[in-house]
Symmetry: none
Subunit: 407 residues, 2 copies
């Protein structure tokens, strides 16, 4: 196992002026080739802090990656700090200097004195070419530890990382990358999943790591291990226990899965949305090619439209209210008819923050109508207005999945 510390320097990040994206780029690249990230630190452009961070990292990890502070200005202190820390002499690199001079010659401007700082490099460092900027990346080897310096500009960092850092690390460490597998579930909580599968990790597969990634849309289960067989067995075991809650593996989204099912069965879909207000249609149409199976829908925010297009009966609205099982079913049937679709799908509920009809916030009915049957489900969602809408749209998609997979 090889451990990595990522150190991001930049006072502009800590003051909130710039959103930091470099650490994610680095960790994505490195975990893929088998490294494990020990920690990410974001610190100021401050020599003392950098030194302290470096010292701590040297005692903990094999590879240290530092981003930022290689540029021309006064607060670019990384190269200087590192050179002094390891007592490395510096020199002016002719190749970089020429590149800088060439650039300003083209601009017909004199080379600013501070620009030259970018050609000042520590001796013995491996130079990583920067094809889109001046400051090159640098690799410094100290005993068995490797320290890598990269520019803070996102595009430059990304390019040097991909072109030079990843190949270098692959050559220098003979790592066996971990195998990852993601199982995507919907309609079951993290605690319920744990109750169903927790023993797997404890008893059957001790070298396996299971992590849960819950969001208001569902829980992803990530299995990882160095042993591919273990991952596959474990995946099968979990799959058989959680069967009906699993809509897919890896990166597939629920709307993609529903699209696949509709396409495979040559069925069309139409939606009637009250509380989701268009979100359901939006999710469905985020999938390229969705026009093949999605005919469209109606955002029936007012009762008038519920009656006009979905043919919800006046009595139904009066007797049960717009947020009711009865209205949800009539909406699903109505939109199916109106759009001449194979499947009609409806949502009606209270997204909050206030509620009319004396129904509780978070109460949502989801209706589905096909040629064979009509079903309605009742939900009580937690969260703010947008989260309730998100959950309602997700469970509506899930209802389509359940009906299509059950058929």
């Amino acid at each position: 196992m090889a451990l990595v510390r990522i150190i991001i320097t930049g006072s502009e990040i800590l003051s909130g002026k710039v959103i930091e994206k470099n650490s994610y780029q680095i960790l994505k690249g490195l975990t893929k080739i088998g490294f494990q990230i020990e920690k990410i630190s974001v610190i100021h452009d401050d020599s003392q802090m950098l030194k302290k961070e470096l010292e701590d990292a040297l005692s903990q990890v094999d590879v240290i990656i530092i981003s930022g502070g290689l540029g021309p200005t006064k607060d670019d202190i990384t190269k200087d700090t590192i050179s002094k820390y390891f007592s490395l002499r510096t020199y002016i690199d002719e190749t970089i200097l020429n590149k800088i001079e060439e650039y300003y010659k083209n601009l017909k401007k004199p080379v600013p004195e501070f620009a030259i700082k970018q050609a000042l490099l520590p001796k013995k460092a491996i130079i990583l070419e920067n094809p889109i900027g001046f400051a090159p990346g640098l690799i410094i080897k100290k005993g068995r530890k490797i320290i890598i310096l990269l520019p803070g500009v996102f595009e430059e960092l990304k390019t040097i990382l991909e072109n030079s850092v990843i190949p270098f690390l692959e050559d220098n460490f003979n790592l066996k990358p971990k195998i990852y597998k993601t199982i995507r579930t919907v309609g079951i909580s993290e605690s319920e999943i744990m109750a169903k599968i927790e023993d797997i990790c404890r008893k059957k597969f001790k070298n396996i790591q299971i992590s849960y990634l819950p969001s208001c849309l569902g829980v992803d289960i990530e299995i990882s291990s160095e042993d591919k067989k273990d991952v596959n067995f474990c995946e099968k075991e979990i799959s058989s226990r959680l069967k009906e809650y699993i809509y897919g593996y890896e990166n597939i989204s629920l709307e993609e899965k529903v699209g696949e099912l509709l396409r495979k069965k040559s069925l069309t879909l139409a939606t009637a949305e009250s509380c989701t207000g268009g979100l359901l249609g939006n999710k469905i149409t985020n999938i390229p090619g969705s026009s093949d199976y999605y005919l469209g829908g109606v955002i029936a925010y007012s009762n008038e439209i519920k009656k006009l297009i979905c043919k919800v009966k006046e009595e139904t609205l009066k007797q049960y209210g717009a947020v009711s099982k009865e209205t949800a079913i009539e909406m699903a049937k109505g939109i199916r008819n109106y759009y001449q679709a194979d499947i009609g799908l409806s949502t009606t509920g209270v997204a909050g923050p206030t509620s009319s009809e004396r129904k509780p916030i978070g109460l949502v009915y989801i209706g589905i109508a096909s040629q064979k049957k009509a079903v309605v489900e009742e939900y009580h969602f937690l969260g703010n207005r947008e989260m309730i809408k998100e959950q309602a749209a997700q469970m509506a998609l899930n209802l389509v999945r359940k009906v299509l997979e059950g058929e």
Copy 2:
């Protein structure tokens, strides 16, 4: 000066499964009220690492904010680690427990054993209500140091931060924060803005900082200084130069602004969406109370529905195609009529990644019809499918704003 260390826990972040957004949210909120962020650390769900980090932070800063690890599962170790570190006893909080029991009762499911862990709190901690989840935030005071624990789920963290943490810190620290002002623009690029206002900062207000936060929906301009007068003058100057591109200040969204205008003028709106597929309705209905002015709409993904509900003429579709000025106008007029709304708004375009009708990807027509007039605008958006939908919905909202402000 008051210093803050932000500690983000979560192995799923360091393994690259989840993009970390909490630290930015925390630092934005805290710098606004005058705190300075000393460092951000992202660490594993590991008791030893958390303890080490905590110890170091206690020697360096006044306030420590820890996100993550308050949930029900085995890797949620924050509460336990902190309680042990400060030798705090724990107890089951009845209010939280009731909330959990109530939730599962509604689901008609037994309470999973793990779930109860979220009600287990350290004694003497101040409890910060979590209105959208189970795990509350916690404040622990140790001498002059303050340790704040927040859930890792972004929406929950954000809510507790705004409702409870910021007010608490404002009360407990008497800081002189910088003055910030955000101007929100749409329909003008960052470079165009810079060309129009760049001299303001250079010449007129030297103690002012202007930063640009561009997204595919528009550019926000942030002005900051310690001098309130300067900020106000600068804001006036920028406002007068960018007038028609500004839809609001601070946190207001374009859909909120459009809602305000409709409400003020007692007008109703209906939408006919082709390429935005429900996104426009979704944005409008994200605003609480939008049912007062938004009647709903139709997702007219198929030509059949364009004809059936929007009364787009067969000849129009044949002669000009579904993605055309003519169709956009007829859709806007048609939906206005059908829903008996004051304003009809339509989108039709090519969101990609493929295009029928030999029209280029990114081409979008937006139509609007009111009693007085009908207008159509043509756009060429860059980006992937979702980005094109986002921009189309945003410019549709902007067209409503322009028409209503012009009237």
